[in-house]
Symmetry: C2
Subunit: 540 residues, 2 copies
């Protein structure tokens, strides 16, 4: 028996039509070197229509991919709506990818057109000759003449192109499960993998961002979108804002602590989202030049674990609660949000807030051990987290890495535990766990303990093969400038801090820990150095 | 190009599993003549599994319909989850239907089993012999021996039946567009019509109820569900509560002002929903016996227009904001919610709050005039409201009244205007508008004006055929006891209050206005009286 409900599709064309009409006066503010530049959601709707007409005039049809190589600004936002709403697929190119990765993703997605910010033209220009499917480049916020394009590629001015177009567009009906946008993960192993979001997944995710158990983004919010729009769709904030009419503040390329503090002072956002590093930088800026930031009702922190000290400082010194959340490109990204349960106060509430958060109803989760068994939610059993739901990836574009998906679940590669009331605590990436004699050693715990020694600047731990124990930890230490410490001293330092069987036998000293394009420890390269015999290792 | 998102279904089985696990300690409190009876969401999950096993044991398979004839209580809530989650279809029977309507809907839906509260057994028993498909009756909260069932119908005790069942159930996967629940509208014309909700529509509607631009139902809420569970799914509150873990307070049959005040005092709900009449009654009770009700963060009012005076009294005397909302059985029912836009304060905010509300992104709306043209949203043009969206009906069960649906839109039968920023103001039911010489006369406006005369108790206005003007208004007046007034005096009274061309020529005096089963003016019967010549009409 079928229901008698309407069979319409959840689509970004409907989202754009709704937001630009019902919330016509909501604002998009883009920061520039001359201060704020403002437009309304009604303007955004007209510009999205102009851009869609322009792309059609350049030959974009069907679900062809259109890349963006841009900061967070009003032009990028118009692309966020115009491209999916016209039936094409938005591909947000990560400006921080290594050059060969950037070429790979543009070719893999078969981008036909790339929109680029003037300030990023030099970065794109170097790779453009290798991008085999790109036929047009549209330069926004800058002079198109600065781009020397390879033959076969036409260069356009965003402003001139749009000025010639009508400000309405006959947005097509689409199947809600068709592709709307794609984003490649810059993992530490292999080529980047494409996650392809659907109209449906973006719609549902946007609703969740506005729900009481998640970000609570509301019509009254002015949201400062610091997370780049090329990182997991800016955590979904642009689409969610359009859904309820929250105003958006876009920092463009002004992401350093000092201009961020200026944006806060000028625009007084009520909400913001960024990785911990951004907030650490802002904190130092605020300590140097104090400023009231209590207009922020809340800020969301994700991307990597938020240090508790950061949460306490923001809340206790500046009156701004930090909301800890977990997600990944493959989860759209909202996976869990650390709002304490009703009634929890004081230290109990803090213990909940330190976790990666609670799963909303649309995200199902389970923990799987090494043998594929499901583990209980007892806040003790540790396993790999798997998730499922309508905005969770079920595969990668082109079928890459099929082993990450099975039986309708995504293997997140994250390792942790879940409490009986559904709060996730992550301890490691699965590939960073050291499997020693049937037990798991957390490399992250070991790293943090070694780094708590005053002479240590950085420490990275990898597993190395061991005949008896399968794997044992190897610690790579960067000594703080002007200090010195031996492996023996560090072992002694650890001896009363970790279990005896976890105490590492293998130590090496290096000049710096290799990093990925987003600044995370690149353990893949560290493992390669070790297997190539490039590390000078002390064994106990 | 299809997205790589997972293709899983939005289903009430997943909602039940989520809520009863992640929000295991959230409470369901049912009011009884001995005060509160409490259980947890974990208990609810176990009872839903027991009920599903019991229904399976009685032969319920596939998408067969299971009726409920119950108050708002924990047993009805278990049925709300068990029946759809097992793949069957919940049919909430309205205990206030006229007897022949009740028989009609049970037969039309082909209910196989009916769950009934002990206190409602006498009401059901009278109609049971006419319910041709019912094979089992399960009596909750009462003695099954009180029911003398016709032959071929087995009677069971809810408690005994569930006690024998396991507390887990292997919930099946379902297509999200399949039927989950049905509710018949008790319209004023023709037979009741069945609206069949899907798993998808209920899931999406539940998310909306928890969004910042709607009810904002949150994990910290204790929601008092006064709206009967047989009226448009209790406005979706039970399912939304399960989604975020809000606790539920169920008043069972204790809906009179005095016990409601007791429930408020005992349970201190933070949120509640009901029609204006309930709040009017509570207000009188509070004036007689004052009581602090400021624990209510907000109450939602819908079902019929909320008088502004009621909103002001609640907010100014008791500190409880009333949130005005519009919807109907066909809209699940959330159609629009009157939260003022960001920045509106004082009188401006009040003007927004008096409206029927703003459309959320998932509800599309348009106004259509008599000739089928779409009207602008200028807060002046008046037309019939049509709506579309994923929780809006696209038809009735069995294809009844197909003319209510066209091109993917529902004709609501409501007449009003929409502001440029998407706020709806309703003025009439379409069938109550009087079409006079190409202009529309609002019967509701006329009624309110006539009723403002001190000698008038009630007044109902219908359109009667007119050769020159197509239709003209006929006013049926009920004079207040102990008072007297003539048609001439009433015309004189109206003369400076309505436009000259609207002034009614046809007047009649009646003893009472006929009412529907839910207490609304039954203009269908009034029109019938007129066409049968039963009214004594004065013409000017």
């Amino acid at each position: 028996m079928l229901s008698t409900m309407q069979d319409g599709q959840l689509s970004l064309a409907n989202l754009l039509k709704h937001g630009s009409r019902v919330h016509a006066t909501s604002q998009v503010t883009t920061w520039t070197d001359q201060g704020p530049r403002r437009e309304t959601y009604a303007d955004l709707g007209r510009n999205a229509a102009r851009l869609a007409n322009a792309l059609r005039s350049l030959g974009i049809t069907g679900d062809q991919r259109v890349g963006t190589f841009m900061w967070n600004n009003a032009e990028h936002l118009a692309a966020y709506f115009a491209i999916p709403a016209m039936g094409a697929v938005l591909h947000t190119l990560n400006i921080r990818l290594f050059p060969e990765q950037l070429t790979f993703v543009a070719n893999h997605a078969e981008d036909q057109v790339v929109l680029v910010d003037g300030s990023l033209v030099p970065l794109l220009a170097k790779q453009l000759p290798e991008m085999k499917t790109v036929r047009h480049v549209i330069v926004a916020n800058g002079d198109p003449a600065t781009l020397q394009a390879p033959s076969g590629v036409e260069v356009h001015s965003y402003d001139a192109l749009l000025a010639a177009q009508p400000d309405t567009f006959d947005w097509p009906e689409v199947d809600e499960r068709s592709a709307a946008a794609m984003c490649y993960t810059s993992g530490t192993t292999g080529d980047p993998k494409g996650v392809v979001y659907s109209h449906r997944s973006i719609w549902l995710h946007s609703m969740q961002v506005c729900m009481t158990d998640s970000m609570q983004l509301s019509p009254a919010d002015k949201a400062l979108v610091i997370v780049p729009m090329f990182h997991a769709m800016s955590w979904g904030m642009p689409y969610a804002a359009m859904m309820v009419g929250a105003s958006l503040i876009m920092p463009d390329r002004f992401l350093q602590p000092k201009p961020l503090a200026q944006i806060l002072a000028s625009e007084k956002p009520t909400f913001a989202g960024a990785v911990p590093t951004i907030w650490q930088g802002l904190l130092q800026q605020l300590e140097a030049e104090p400023q009231d930031i209590s207009h922020l009702r809340e800020v969301v922190v994700g991307g990597s674990a938020c240090p508790p000290a950061l949460m306490h400082t923001f809340e206790e010194r500046y009156g701004v609660p930090i909301l800890h959340a977990w997600g990944m490109t493959e989860t759209s990204p909202l996976g869990s949000v650390a709002r304490p349960p009703a009634g929890a106060t004081g230290e109990e509430a803090w213990q909940y807030r330190y976790t990666q958060g609670r799963f909303p109803a649309s995200v199902r989760a389970r923990l799987i051990d090494d043998d594929g068994n499901e583990l209980p939610w007892d806040n003790e059993s540790v396993g790999e987290l798997e998730v499922a739901g309508p905005w969770i990836a079920g595969g990668y574009h082109g079928g890459a890495d099929p082993e990450k998906f099975h039986d309708g679940w995504l293997r997140t590669g994250d390792v942790g535990k879940i409490s009986p009331d559904g709060y996730l605590t992550l301890t490691d990436r699965a590939k960073d766990v050291i499997k020693s004699g049937g037990e798991w050693i957390s490399s992250v715990d070991l790293e943090n303990t070694v780094m708590s020694h005053p002479a240590v600047a950085e420490a990275a731990v990898i597993g190395v093969p061991d005949e008896k124990w399968d794997e044992r930890p190897l610690v790579a230490v960067v000594v703080r400038e002007g200090q010195s410490v031996t492996a023996e001293e560090l072992r002694e330092f650890l001896s009363d801090k970790v279990a005896k069987w976890q105490l590492p036998e293998h130590w090496t000293f290096i000049d710096e820990v290799p990093k990925t394009s987003v600044g995370k420890f690149d353990k893949k390269r560290l493992r390669a150095f070790h297997s190539q015999g490039k590390l000078d290792v002390t064994h106990f």
